[in-house]
Structure formats: structure tokens, C-alpha cells
């Protein structure tokens, strides 16, 4: 099976209330990725369009977006797995390229969360669960993650300050990321006195909603050579897993086994381990999500996550830099665009093009992208 590389990356600024249509939003990332790879639109042999459909007014968004980007008559399709839709798109494109269907594909993620009214958002929030057996109790995403936060803090004797430290780190880097939606610093004290959203999570424990798009161009090894791509970033390992939606069917409330399984597959395929990772993007929709990821990815022993952040080991100059682009917490979390944006950050890091966010000479990077409350997880290991 031949290798597959990412040869072009793009991302719109993540903003509140994007002043344009979903097509125009998606086009921003598309244009940047095409320019980055130096391609013409005829070079793209197929596209996968990724978002979470509950925020879309447009039925079947793949059609209008492929049209606007000039990607007809090449095949296109829509990919959905909640917050990890665009890394699922990467997985599918990888399979289509190694399977020989195409040798150059576009994975375009987008979300215009402001496309619907806040009342509509409120209504949809209640349905982000098993609508038969969970939603009638009045559920929403922060409350689910708060249940894991309580489980984690209780099991390991960690504190709410430990969670807040993760937000302080995210805000440190959100300030230097020109594409982040939240660009202000956040202090530990601000986090601790913020209003509760769902105990024990408070306002600053939660990511910023945003509108945004991301685009990735994937190509076969042969195509990489043919195009003369100077700095391809290779997909070395891909892992993916799923878990029951209903929390009554889970065994653990202090971590996500789905992420452990995806990580184990990705490490195995790449022939590397957690100690080989030089820079990582993890799915920090809530502070507790990053805390759990430290352990689920093997960056820390079970219970060792709080010490990792207290020692600032996940800062840019630490032993395992994590989310040095501000993460979902500060960069923002436009659901369908998030995974692609994480991949873009790692690609830029591995090329040495991450600017003020650049970590020192990374060779291997990792992306951890979770859909729902540990319902789906994708882990990607990438290298130069």
C-alpha cells in the first residue's frame, strides 16, 4: 500500500457570525489550501465535504460547496461524525487514495454555527444525545463533559484549578494565533470565579463557538513526486473507534476508551509510541477533554495529567507541546472544520512554518479529534 501525504492546508479565520454564506466560508479555506499546494482546481479528483448537519440550512451541503469551488464534475460526498467529521474525511480520503480510486483529493470541513438562531441552537442542543433515553432528562454537551470532569476529579483527587490551568495555556497561544476567535489572555483566577455552566465546569472550561472552515489536500506518493511537492507531510498512522452514545452503556467516567483504541491503532500503524510525538493537537472542547487526552494518548500515566499541566510540560517549550495554536478553547470550535484545522496546525509545525507558535524542530506530530462525548475518535500520526 502506497503512502499518502498532505500537500496543501488552508483555514479561514475562526470568527463569531461570519458575514457570508457557507459556500463563501468554505471557499476561504479551499483557496488557501490550493495556493499552499500550488494546484489548479482540475488537479482535485474528488472532494469530501465535512460538517455537522444540524447547523446547516442547506440540504446536502456537499453539492453547493463543490459547485462553488469549481469541483464539478468530480465526485463529491458529505461526511459526518459530529466534531470529528473532517478527520473522518481524512480517513476516507486516505482509503480512496490507497485503494486507487483517486490520487489527489480535497477534504473540506466547515461550520457556520451562526447559520441558525440561538433559539434553534438551544433546541438542537437538547438532541445531541440518545433522543429516546437521554434527551428527555434535559441533557446538553457541557453537562456530559462535566460528568466526566466529576468522575476524573473524584478518581484522581485532581482539582478544578488543574482544569483551569489548561484554559490558561490555551489562551496563552490563542493570543498569538491570528485565526483564533478568542485572542485574550485568561488568568487562573478568572477561570475559578467564572459562572458555572454545568458543575464542575465553568464558563472558561468551555470552548468558544465559531464559524470557520478548513481544507486539506491529500495525494498519493506518486502524485507528490509528479507535482514536485517540497514539504509533504506523510500520514503515518490512522486510528478510529466508536463507543455507545448512551452513557448508561459506558464503563468509565474518567477517560475515553474510544481515544485509547484509536491512539493504539495509529501508533501501531506508524510504528511509534507516545514518547516519539514532538507536537500534538488534542480535542479540547472542554478543559477536561484535554486532561483526559493526556492519559488516553499515553502522554501521562493514569492520574498523571494534572502534574503534566502543573509542570507546564504541554506548553510550547515543554516535553510534549499540546494545542499551541490555542486549541478549541481559544482558537474556536466550528464543528465540521475543527479536525481539519488541527491537521493544518500539525502540518505547519512539521514544515517549520508555524511562526510564533512553532515548536523546536518537530519530526512526528499527532492529532486527536473526538466526536460527541467520546462517541467517535480519530487519531492521526503524521511525519515529515
Amino acid at each position: 500500500m502506497g503512502r499518502v501525504a498532505i500537500i496543501g492546508v488552508g483555514q479561514s479565520a475562526f470568527v463569531r457570525g461570519y458575514p457570508g454564506s457557507i459556500k463563501e466560508l468554505a471557499f476561504e479555506a479551499f483557496r488557501e489550501a490550493m495556493d499552499d499546494a500550488g494546484l489548479q482546481r482540475g488537479d482535485i479528483q474528488g472532494s469530501l465535504i465535512c460538517s455537522a448537519p444540524e447547523y446547516d440550512r442547506q440540504r446536502s451541503p456537499a453539492g453547493v460547496i463543490a459547485e462553488y469551488c469549481g469541483l464539478n464534475p468530480q465526485p463529491t460526498a458529505y461526511v459526518e461524525s459530529l466534531c470529528c467529521s473532517s478527520t473522518t474525511g481524512v480517513r476516507m480520503a486516505y482509503g480512496m487514495i490507497t485503494g486507487g480510486l483517486h490520487d489527489c483529493m480535497m477534504v473540506l470541513g466547515f461550520q457556520k454555527m451562526s447559520e441558525i438562531t440561538s433559539a434553534e441552537t438551544q433546541e438542537r442542543m437538547g438532541r445531541g444525545a440518545d433522543i429516546q433515553w437521554e434527551s428527555p432528562f434535559g441533557t446538553m454537551m457541557p453537562a456530559y463533559y462535566a460528568m466526566f470532569a466529576r468522575g476524573f476529579l473524584h478518581r484522581y483527587g485532581a482539582s478544578e484549578e488543574d482544569l483551569a490551568r489548561i484554559r490558561v495555556k490555551a489562551a496563552t497561544y490563542g493570543q498569538i494565533n491570528e485565526k483564533a476567535v478568542y485572542r485574550k489572555p485568561v488568568s487562573l483566577e478568572q477561570c475559578m470565579i467564572a459562572d458555572p455552566v454545568a458543575d464542575p465546569l465553568k464558563v472558561f472550561d468551555c470552548c468558544a463557538n465559531a464559524d470557520g472552515s478548513s481544507a486539506l489536500i491529500l495525494a498519493s506518493e506518486e502524485k507528490v513526486r509528479e507535482l514536485g511537492i517540497e514539504k509533504p507531510v506523510w500520514l503515518m498512522g490512522l486510528g478510529s473507534a466508536s463507543a455507545p452514545v448512551n452513557l448508561a452503556l459506558r464503563d468509565e467516567f474518567s477517560g475515553f476508551d474510544v481515544a485509547r483504541q484509536a491512539a493504539s491503532q495509529a501508533y501501531g500503524m506508524a510504528g511509534v509510541g507516545p514518547k516519539d510525538i514532538d507536537v500534538a493537537e488534542v480535542h479540547d472542547c472542554f478543559t477536561i477533554a484535554e486532561m483526559m487526552a493526556y492519559e488516553n494518548l499515553g502522554f501521562a500515566e493514569p492520574g498523571g495529567g494534572p502534574e503534566l499541566i502543573r509542570a507546564k510540560e504541554t506548553y510550547k517549550d515543554g516535553s510534549i507541546p499540546v494545542n499551541v495554536d490555542g486549541g478549541l478553547l481559544s482558537k474556536g470550535h466550528p464543528i465540521g472544520a475543527t479536525g481539519g484545522s488541527q491537521v493544518r496546525t500539525i502540518v505547519l509545525q512539521l514544515r517549520g512554518e508555524a511562526g510564533a507558535m512553532q515548536v523546536k524542530d518537530p519530526a512526528v506530530g499527532l492529532v486527536h479529534n473526538v466526536g460527541g462525548v467520546g462517541l467517535y475518535a480519530n487519531v492521526l500520526v503524521m511525519g515529515r
Binding site: 441533557t139 459562572d195 455552566v197
Partner: protein, 147 residues
């Protein structure tokens, strides 16, 4: 099914503060809940017990209709969260807590009747059926000593 029942069996719409599902093959759950029983289903073939109740066993083919069993005795509180904001239709319930109760063989997802700093994961809970306004029904977990 009795002759005077409507053609569409929408009993499940009455589950919880606000319903999102009206028709299901495990609608009898609602009648049992009205009678004060919180029930799961049990496969007559392999004996597996399921909560939430399900109409089909994923492991057995042709074992016949599921049987019902009652959730009884003490479970352990696995975890919970207290909501300060709610999705549309639940605002009047605030603040309220959602939780998971662990009965060993199976777990339940639902509301927790009492919460506060003294209520921690591991705390013993019982499960009881509750009546809500407008003929709606649900169940909740009650921490030990709060009955």
C-alpha cells in the same frame, strides 16, 4: 393491544420533561413506569439484561420477545453534573442534575433527586418512578438518606 387504543401508539412521547420519541417497540416501559416500576428488558435466549430497555438482543436470533425485569435495590452513583443552563423546554427545571447509576450488570442514565457537595461518586442510590405535570412520567435516582 386493546381495541380502543389509537392506531398509533404514542405512549413513549410522555417520557421525561420533554419527549423526542413517540413510537418504540418498548412502549410498555411507560405503563410499567406509571405503575411505579422502572424496568429493563431481559433476553429469553441468553439471559442478558438491558437498560435502557431494547426490543432486540444483539446476540440472539429468534429467541422470542424480550421479557421485562424490575430495577430494584441499591445502585452506586457513577457520576453526575448539575446544570445551570438548559436546552429549550427544560428551563423551568433548573437547577437539576443528570447522573448515571451503576447496578453492576447494567447502568441507568437519568435525573438525580438531590445534589450538593456531600453527594459524591460511589454514593448508594435507589431508583424510583416519578410523576411529572401533564401526565408525564420519568424516573430518578435518590441518594441514600434522602428518601
Amino acid at each position: 393491544m386493546a381495541k380502543n387504543k389509537p392506531e398509533k401508539d404514542l405512549r413513549f412521547e410522555r417520557f421525561g420533561t420533554k419527549g423526542f420519541t413517540a413510537t418504540t417497540k418498548v412502549n410498555d416501559f411507560i405503563d410499567r413506569l406509571e405503575a411505579g416500576q422502572v424496568c429493563g428488558t431481559k433476553c429469553p435466549g441468553c439471559g442478558q439484561r438491558f437498560f435502557p430497555p431494547r426490543a432486540d438482543c444483539p446476540d440472539c436470533s429468534g429467541a422470542g420477545p424480550m421479557e421485562w425485569f424490575q430495577v430494584e435495590g441499591e445502585g452506586k452513583l457513577a457520576t453526575y453534573s448539575v446544570l445551570r443552563y438548559a436546552p429549550q423546554g427544560f428551563e423551568q427545571d433548573l437547577p437539576y442534575a443528570i447522573a448515571v447509576a451503576d447496578y453492576g450488570d447494567y447502568k441507568l442514565f437519568g435525573r438525580l433527586s438531590h445534589f450538593g457537595p456531600e453527594i459524591e461518586p460511589g454514593c448508594p442510590v435507589t431508583t424510583r418512578a416519578v410523576s411529572l405535570p401533564d401526565g408525564r412520567v420519568a424516573y430518578e435516582f435518590v441518594p441514600q438518606g434522602q428518601q
